[in-house]
Structures are given as C-alpha cells and as structure tokens.
C-alpha cells in the first residue's frame, strides 16, 4: 500500500487502528515528494528533517484530542509558519522566517498534523496559474505541459500528485476552487469570515478566505471543521458556531439552480457539457435542477479587479525592507502591475469612480444572489470555462486570471461559500463543477457534494506521473 495515496479519512482510520504510524505516513509523503518534485515543483520549502523528527516523536497522550495526529499536511506559502520560511513565492521575502503562526497553522498544528512543507503559489497570490511564482511555475500532475491553476497551484498539485494527505490553500477569488478544478481535487472556499485570516499574508482583505484542498469531500469537511471558527485576532472573523449551517440534508428535494450566464458560449468545448452531465447526475439523485439567471459575471471581473488591486496596493506597502525582506524593486512585474493599478484607482478623484463604485456594484451582486437563493438552495456551474491551460499561457495576458476565474469571482465578491468537485475530464484534463450556496451554508454544500462524489468515481482517478 502506498500510504501517501491515502485520503485523510483513510489515514486517520489507519492511524487509529494502528495499521501504520504517523512516521510511516510522513516518510511515504516525503519520498513521493522526492520522486515527483523535479517534475511538479509544488513545494517551495520541504521540511523533511523537521517533519521526520516530529513524526518520530509523536506520542499519544490519553485525553488529548488531536484528530490529525501524525497526518502530513502541506501549507500554502502565504500562511505564516513560526520558525519556517514564509515567502509568499516572492523574492522580496525569499528568506523571511516567520516569528509567529497563522491561526489556521496554529489550529492545524494543534490538531496534531505534521507540516511537511510550504507550497508554491503565484507570488503574493497574484495570479491563477502559479506561473508568477518567483520560485518557478508548478506543473499540472495530469500533464506537466499544463498549468495547475492558481494561486494555490502548489497545494492543489501536491494533493493531486499524492505528495501530501491534504493541503491548505487560500482564495481571494478562485485561488482554491480553480486550481482544485484544474488538478482534479476537491477545494472548499468557506464563507468570508468563517476561517480566520490572521497570519495569512493579505491579498484582498475583504475577500481572502483560507480553505482546504483535499482528495475527497469528506476530507474537506474534516479539515474545514478544524480550521473554521471565531478568532480573537481577526476582527472580521465570524462569531458564530461552525455547525450552525444546516444539518445533513439529502439531495432529494434540493433545488439546484444552473445560472445560464455561467455556461458561457466562449467556454472550451466539453466543459459545459461535462458539468451538465453532473447536473443530470444530481437530478438522478433526486435534486430538482432548474435554470436561473444571474447578473452577468463579466461585471464581477471589474469589481474584483478594482477591489483586489486597490487593497493589494495598500497591503503590500508594508514591504519596505526595514523590518524584514528586501527592497521594493524585488516585486515581480505582476506584483508591480497590481500595486500600480490599485494605487491609481485609490487616488483622490478616482476613488469614487473605482473603489467606491465597485463596492456599490458588490451590493448589487449580493442582492442578485439573495434573490436567486430565494428560489434555489444551491447554484451549480463549471468552476472555470476551460480545463488547465498550457504552461506560458498567462504571460502577457493582463487579465488571464480574471477571465479563467470569471465564474468564481461573483461569489467571492459576495463572500459566499463554494466548493469545486471533480466531475469528469476533457481531453485527459480534469473538469471541476462548483456548488455555491448562501452565506454560512458550508454544510449544505459539503453534504450535496459528498453525495454526488459517492455516486461517481471521478475522485478516484489518479494522474500518471
């Protein structure tokens, strides 16, 4: 048995039944990393020595509740990890060793997981390809000529290539769901405020959401339960119980809306059809599938671009080379472009036309979702209009990410939870479907996705590396 291929659920079961130890799991993942990293480049830092040491010292103490004791985990490199390099895939903090743990990291550690490494990403999460990393692009495990998506491309590729049992990603608008879709794994983007942002290197503060990238929906739920919840250190984190959102609801009788604007004519042939087939599957499981209409997502691109660039320009101002990191010329071109645009849109005289206008249209988008959620329980659409694109595709395409994330941005702007679940292949590359629900409806989303997953085999497919 190759232990690195286990799902989180299987790993936890095996550990509790003493079929193997955490040390076995960690060393299985580390040897897989050694084997495939030259092809994939999913990690910026691999903490082999520390992870091995930690795993060998694991001791179960009676009374301890450490659900992930001994389970290897990979963390996107924009989460601060105390004593470990935290680079955000940028040259400007290439050697930065964080003096504190992000709340998510703290929770993962407290749960007993062993951090085996920090994963690659677009530098400062500025992208949807992982090509803008200053540490070289990550490749898609399904076909290394292709991109893994991004910005959590390293986390998604590491899970798809079985280099880890599970991974943590972060999404601002697509950065969990889109790479999960392109790499054929599960990615959950929780409601904004559900998971603490403390210690996550900020991209767009008003939409950043940490979340799990896993091999199955059940795994996503398990990790989500560990990392979600109110945090005193994040003023925007929600002060409400994690279990409050709808208990197990059967698909039977569920109303699922297919937003017609999200099945775009310019989509890559096969993608819409694959997702429609998934809709049929849900229907056969008892769901009522109906067409709905939503605000044209193309406007969400503009809203997102403005909000994100503006907040980025301010969030990256702290990188001044005095307390940490290098000088500001070390931002890469994509970073600089975003800082420039955001600085431009926040200027006095432009603020009303851009940032404030975007926040107003955000209100319109939220109201639009509210209206639709009066008719349906969940929305179903493709995650991205295409499957993974070829390495190099993002270069010289200023809006590459925005366009590949067009179907995700509206829900991100509105703060809604969503999940990407594998639902088929087009030309050997995975297609992801997304389920989006109202605020705080993670459980409903997870329940539905899990029932779909159990009725299909897509998540069992593995890339040939």
């Amino acid at each position: 048995m190759e232990l690195n291929k286990l799902t989180l659920t299987e790993a936890m079961d095996g550990l509790s039944e003493y079929k193997f130890t955490g040390r076995d799991l960690v060393s299985a993942c580390l040897s897989r990393i050694k084997e495939v990293e030259p092809k994939i480049n999913a990690f910026i830092t691999v903490t082999a020595e520390a992870a091995n040491k930690e795993a060998s010292e694991i001791q179960e103490k009676p009374g301890d509740i450490k659900p992930f004791l001994g389970v290897p985990a990979a963390i996107k490199d924009n989460f601060n990890t105390k004593g470990l390099k935290t680079t955000a895939a940028s040259n400007i903090i290439r050697d930065y060793v964080a003096p504190y743990d992000a709340t998510v990291v703290h929770k993962i550690k407290e749960s007993g997981a062993v951090i085996i490494g920090k994963t690659n990403m677009d530098a400062f999460a500025h992208g949807s390809s992982t090509e803008t990393s200053d540490f070289g692009p990550t490749k898609n495990p399904w076909n290394t000529d292709y991109l893994p998506g991004g910005s959590s491309g390293g986390s998604a590729a590491a899970v798809a290539a079985d280099e880890t049992i599970f991974a943590i990603g972060s999404e601002t608008a697509g950065s969990i769901r889109q790479p999960a879709a392109w790499c054929g794994v599960v990615g959950l983007k929780p409601t904004y405020g559900r998971v603490s942002r403390y210690g996550l290197i900020a991209m767009a503060s008003s939409t950043d959401s940490p979340g799990p990238i896993t091999k199955t929906v059940a795994d996503a739920r398990t990790v989500y339960r560990v990392i979600a919840g109110f945090d005193l250190f994040d003023a925007t984190s929600a002060d409400r119980p994690v279990s409050d959102s709808g208990n197990l609801k059967k698909i039977a009788g569920l109303k699922i809306g297919l937003p017609k604007e999200y099945f775009r004519t310019e989509a890559q042939p096969g993608v819409n059809e694959t997702v429609m087939a998934a809709a049929k599957k849900l229907e056969s499981l008892g769901a009522r599938v109906l067409e709905v209409s939503l605000f044209d997502p193309k406007y969400a691109i503009s809203v997102y671009t403005i909000l994100q660039r503006s907040e980025v320009s301010s969030n990256l101002a702290r990188f001044d080379g005095i307390r940490f990191g290098g000088t500001r010329d070390q931002f890469n071109e994509e970073n600089k472009r975003r800082i420039m645009l955001g600085t431009y849109t926040l200027q006095s005289g432009y603020y009303e036309a851009y940032y404030q206008k975007a926040q107003k249209i955000r209100t319109i988008i939220i109201e639009d979702f509210n209206r639709v959620f009066e008719k349906v329980d969940l929305l179903l659409s493709p995650v991205s209009p295409t499957t993974a694109q070829k390495v190099g595709a993002s270069a010289n395409q200023a809006m590459f990410g925005e366009i590949s994330d067009i179907l995700i941005e509206p829900s991100s702007i509105a703060g809604l939870p969503g999940i990407s679940v594998p639902c088929g292949f087009v030309k050997g590359l995975p297609v992801g479907m997304q389920l989006v629900g109202p605020m705080w409806s993670e459980n409903l989303i997870l329940d539905t996705a899990q029932e779909y997953e159990q009725a299909t085999e897509w998540h069992k497919q593995k890339p040939n590396l």
Partner: protein, 101 residues
C-alpha cells in the same frame, strides 16, 4: 468613445511615486499600455448605474468588533525575534537610510 483612455508615462511615474515603487526601464515603457488595458476593462463598470446603491465594505454584516483593553505577552516578540528578519540593526533598533526614497 470607449477605449481611448490611455495612461501616460507621466501618470505612470506619478503613480509609481505614490506607490514607492521603483520601475525598471522596461516596466516604465510597458506599463502605460498594460495598465491602460486593465483600466479599459474595469471602465465597463460605468455601464451600471449605482448612484443610489449603498457600498458594501463588509460582506458578513458584522459590526463592533473590538477587544477589551488588556495587555498580555502572548504575542509579544522578544527584541531578538522582532529584529531577526531585518537587514540592518543597531543596539536593538532597526536601521534605515535617513533619506526616504
């Protein structure tokens, strides 16, 4: 008339100054056009009337997030930790050039 808005290189320099961002020669040359492209895109928002719509700055509707005034050392860094990532330090201080570029 759409798409006629171009960011001039003067404006690019001004914005780079505000952003405290040194641009390479290539960036200085490329940015007017690249940024204009994005600006053209986001200008689509002008098509949507929203004068009477209130802005949403916080999607969760949360208000009054605060903490009580208690100091504690749970996150306090030792001076060594605080200074550990700095390029230059001196007697417990961070060091920077006098003139701010």
């Amino acid at each position: 008339m759409k798409n006629n808005k171009k960011l001039t290189s003067e404006e690019v320099k001004h914005v780079a100054g505000l952003a405290n961002l040194p641009l390479s020669e290539k960036e200085t040359k490329d940015f007017p056009e690249k940024l204009s492209e994005t600006i053209d895109y986001i200008d689509q928002l002008k098509e949507i009337p929203a004068e009477n719509t209130p802005p949403t700055y916080q999607v969760t509707g949360k208000t009054n997030a605060w903490r009580s005034d208690k100091s504690d050392s749970c996150r306090l860094l030792s001076p060594q930790e605080a200074l550990a990532n700095a390029k230059k330090t001196h007697n417990g201080f961070f060091v920077t050039k006098v003139k701010w570029s």
